[in-house]
Symmetry: C2
Amino acid sequence: VQQQHLAELQQTLAELHPADIAYILEALPLDDRLTVWQLVRVENDGEILLEVSDAVRETLIADMDEHEMIAAAKDLDADELADLAPELPRDVVQGLMESLDDQQREQVRSALSYKDDQVGAIMDFEMVTIREDVTLEVVLRYLRRLKELPDQTDKLFVVDVAGLLKGVLPIKRLLVNDPDCMVHEVMATDPVTFSPDEDGSYAAQAFERYDLVSAPVVEKSGRLLGRLTVDEMVDLIREESESEALNRAGLREEEDIFASVWKSLQNRWAWLAINLITAFVASRVIGLFEHSIEKLVALAALMPIVAGIGGNSGNQTITMIVRAMALDQLSTGNSSRLLRKELGVAFINGVIWGGVIGLVAWLLYDSWSLGLVMTAAMTLNLLLAALMGVLIPMTMVRLGRDPALGSSVLITAMTDSGGFFIFLGLATIFLL
Amino acid sequence: VQQQHLAELQQTLAELHPADIAYILEALPLDDRLTVWQLVRVENDGEILLEVSDAVRETLIADMDEHEMIAAAKDLDADELADLAPELPRDVVQGLMESLDDQQREQVRSALSYKDDQVGAIMDFEMVTIREDVTLEVVLRYLRRLKELPDQTDKLFVVDVAGLLKGVLPIKRLLVNDPDCMVHEVMATDPVTFSPDEDGSYAAQAFERYDLVSAPVVEKSGRLLGRLTVDEMVDLIREESESEALNRAGLREEEDIFASVWKSLQNRWAWLAINLITAFVASRVIGLFEHSIEKLVALAALMPIVAGIGGNSGNQTITMIVRAMALDQLSTGNSSRLLRKELGVAFINGVIWGGVIGLVAWLLYDSWSLGLVMTAAMTLNLLLAALMGVLIPMTMVRLGRDPALGSSVLITAMTDSGGFFIFLGLATIFLL
């Protein structure tokens, strides 16, 4: 019976889109996942490996022998092979490279020579190129002979004999213009182009802004190298937003939801360790004031409020700034204006919410001076949070680093230690 | 001289893509923004208003009189008009509606009847429809007569006399097949379609998974209503990831970076107030143990460590779970397995990192029992964090709410109050 069920399952899988199979594999615990993986038809293996997340891909490749890997990879395009190559054993990659023709091998090498997030690593090589001195009728006949066009083909690339890009012929124009027109009469001569060493996220922003479906990638000399397509850009935008969310929470990378406990620990330790250090520093700041707390124990109960609100407010500021930086809306010209605005917001928040909590502290502990210290400490810590919320991402960028990375941990560390220091310091001076 | 500069600026603006002008407007402080806005040619105003963020759009519309608004909106498509309508004065919308023909007015009404994030509000009406019983040659001649095709047209929609969708004809197939073929011979009969009341983010996932450029939207009856295009899906994915990041930081909505202090305060108050309440609760938990802290002041210095690490670890868990939920990888079948994994990770982290910090506490305060309480409290708080990190988003979903909304605030509130209670409670029982 088990055998029969498996046969039925195999039947069903054979009818599914590779992207759907990838999705199913991701949602299955490891043992079930490998059972299903064995049932998938070999010719789909390559496509599926490209679709699944890195963490799941690792588990699937670990389950394959060399023959299966070669069978899975041999029908892939050069750019897809390059995506997969870093995760395959060296022998397998060697074997695959030898089976390619010269042009393809050159393409794989080229793609591997760029970093993951550069245009050169994301582009594909499935372009339809035409000459500018032919009629649209000739182009239409040429396309008919191709039998099939690459996916996402919304424009043809017009090149000269040397391979230099002269323009692009949008399919739209090919369809609505008189077939007797010449290509150079109807082509667009100033298309949006990208260079292979540009940043992929920059390209994604351009795709978004100009509603592109595909765009040519050219060398500095103007020679056509490959093309970018919107499906890759969509994946890139999604991946970026996910890795941002994961980084913010202190996860190094995407984690297979059914990963072993051991794998999960490795993924989560780096930031827990950093957090442990910042928490320890904050703890030592409190340690400086143990005598004050001994004399006035209410300080111990009130101090986390000052630190907590500062952290929340600092995270609001830093999120705004990092976002504005990602959209390139911040220049040195307007940064001082921005800092003044953030300090203004922090000051008003400090006086109002600090006032509220100061009043509560006064009523609770029957001490107006304690309430006043609370209000003052909240205001100062919110000002510190605003200052750091602007300065941290700006310094990160000046140091050439991603302003989002670790921003939340850093600002929280500052507002914790800073909040404890300001509150306990003021209390020690004015209350004891 | 000023006058001459403005003339030059106007010249430059006239040559820019509306999306580029929108980008420039967003990066300018309010007064400069309005100066530039006055220089933009009226026929571009509508496009630009659609491109800028909500916050910036508000500032631009506030600067326009009724005539300018009508001039800006009158050349827009029905779906674009529907996007803009909610932010225009009622009179202006009334006037614009009257200037439309019956079909367009119906389309605007239809688009306005759906919620912002439903397919019906995102779709456009610029479809090219053909019949199935004609040859490709006829289709090609028909397209040539249209003079222009809508952007993002990668397929034509095949409908019958009643407007029912029979299939789609990808442009690729139109180009490579023999012109004497009939449409029904080469069309795809099982395209991915969407219904107008579906969730936009569901559609975006389908576009991503199947690498779509455009797709038909059909009623239950099968009648063709409109189409979705990848450029709208890209915007949707970007907006979702942004609003997620903003929500996480406690910002209600996108904020114009040069917004007034007053506007910023409104945007940020809701969550600061919530945070104030949770911080106050945590403070009262500490208040319960003031006698213990008076006797052993080291507790005051150590307690933020227990709470802080718990918060960090809980945020890691909840980020993983929310992400798995967004990708639909979580079912009730596998949730207990997941909970066991998260508890396992938390336990090991607690023993190891709790052990480290316990050792440090022992050395620092020369009390092995204090170190032991520290380790035990860390472990218990991490277990609490893991449990809540799984339960909070699951409960949110069961209550029909977005699992990401406020997840970070909730988990931090639990690990703060919980951490203080566990640590001070254990210390009171075992150390005093």
